[in-house]
Symmetry: C2
Subunit: 382 residues, 2 copies
Amino acid sequence: MRRLFRGATLSSLNRTMEMTMNRKRASGLDIDQGNLCSGVAYGWAKKTFANRSGRFGAPLPGLDDSFSNVMDMGGLGIALSSDGIGTKVELAERIGRYDTLGFDLVAMTADDLAANGIEPVCLSNILDVDHLDAAVVDSLMRGLHDAANQAQMAVVGGEIAELGDRIGGYGPGMHFNWCATALGVLPTGLSPISGHEVEPGHDVFALRSRGFRSNGFSLLRRVMESCFGDGWHDARYDEQATWGEVLLTPSLIYSPLITRLRRAGVNLTAVAHITGGGVEDNLARMLRPAGAGADLTGLHPPLPFMLKVQELGGVDEAQAYRLWNMGNGMLLVAPPDARESIMTLAAELDYDIRVAGAVHSRPKISIQTRGLHPTVLERPLD
Amino acid sequence: MRRLFRGATLSSLNRTMEMTMNRKRASGLDIDQGNLCSGVAYGWAKKTFANRSGRFGAPLPGLDDSFSNVMDMGGLGIALSSDGIGTKVELAERIGRYDTLGFDLVAMTADDLAANGIEPVCLSNILDVDHLDAAVVDSLMRGLHDAANQAQMAVVGGEIAELGDRIGGYGPGMHFNWCATALGVLPTGLSPISGHEVEPGHDVFALRSRGFRSNGFSLLRRVMESCFGDGWHDARYDEQATWGEVLLTPSLIYSPLITRLRRAGVNLTAVAHITGGGVEDNLARMLRPAGAGADLTGLHPPLPFMLKVQELGGVDEAQAYRLWNMGNGMLLVAPPDARESIMTLAAELDYDIRVAGAVHSRPKISIQTRGLHPTVLERPLD
């Protein structure tokens, strides 16, 4: 189910971790059931591919380790990517600010497309609410509009469903869950980025994030609550902001950079969107098709509030780097001759980028962490 | 917001009804907030169309009264349609049967595409759960598979999100909300079905439904609960089935017939998918572009259990025909010379179809109802 069912998929990839730590307890999610469900869902979905075999919309093979499917639509490669923003919504409910979540929603869907070299084009969103509050809906949709502008996408469809007590949340206001499906196109003449062309000696670049994206919030909330009680969102992080505000920091959208690089002819051999599973799992996923390994010694440091969360929760380095992006929201892999173009174009678009390491031929990934207790995380390639 | 936000849209179309009845109380939904929210969401969404103006994926004009948007993708017309199955999910939770909801999910999304003459191609689904139960997920996905086969679609994407107490439902099992976005293509050489070419003298055909679709369940549940108490789903409807089983009856998917008719060159001038708002609103919506009216004297009768619900709830004819499909799941409009082809092809595909009435030039819709208290519902065209 790697290819299709994102949430459960990441659980599946994380399976080996369970040997060394009880992630079920740590993350609040049931990993075994996640594996089982993802397998089940993928099994049924894959059987339906035959319905379009040899016809308009036939799913293309080759992206088994990605979260996008590219379909052949009359010679065009069109892909869909569905995702939601999970329990990050609770942050917005807690502090009453709703205009940033659109950035998380666009980031989660558009950047999954971008990770396969697919240009995001448009998006249809579904907002499930317990009851309607027009002021909240206005803020949400304004934020989605702003984020869509940044990603150069059109919001072409939507559904608002009133589901009463099927939807729960924090506090007395409107509660909601929000998800979207983004559609993207494979640029004419280009192949999807699949990782198959990764080679030893290729650079691994890290793009800096500006906060937590839409994953790892179960543990975040538990850490906060155990330190500051139920009203933790109002606890001061520093003189400028509360913890609620800091954790709500909207996701940075990386797709415009990938589009720009691809259009400039830069050869990206792999791209990993760092969400659940962290750098380690997502790096492994992007290297698996080529059977290559990598050493990352130069990742961006975590943001200061990430270190503080780690300290407050007593979260060890391995767990922090698996559940959270720890300052690195996307990784790019490219041959050495692309380095200058990548650094230049990223700077032009105001992305903070650095060379974080290199691909090698050994079947192992190692990551020099930069959390509270720096260490080297190693894992064999599976 | 007609074009984009389905749930709220229908509320908007229903606004005039409020003058004669308190639908807020009757349906359990807040119509005024619905109108406001749909307007707000559409306002922000429409501004983002400029992001694709003159580029790949530019939304085409002309479908303001539909629930699909067609985008120009390199000469191809591609459309997305998002919807969920609302609180019908509770029925499945009540009786522990999960393999029929996939038909509702495909019907809600594929038939919105079909109503614009767009062929459904594939679908990406998002399942929000409180916690995972692999057996339930297996049944849901098996049903989705079966429904996708019927609609000849591929399930190309998915997301399973564990959201804990953000998701509520009935009983002790896994609770969930389920939605999807379907992608369809406008057949080469054909225009979308927009209603603009409807003319006086065109036939209106009604396709029989086999039960409630995914709308009107708030009132259904209230009627059942007030008659049979909390465990109403176990109350016998007849010797064969409980009320829970009867109300769970899966939606019939009409898109294969529309695809077949269009491919056979049959000129459909309007198609209405009868969901929230019923025959009246959806008929008005499809006639509005041409400014035509219609008399429907020959609709299919409601299914027997629909009459029984009407009786148990003391639901008047007007309300029943607005909240429920009352036996007619889709309406087709076509010039008289298409009648024979339509009747023949529908029969070949086992759809129960009849000529229900005709289009005329007066700015009025009248519907001969066939509920418990047959009457003629009239409304001016707005």
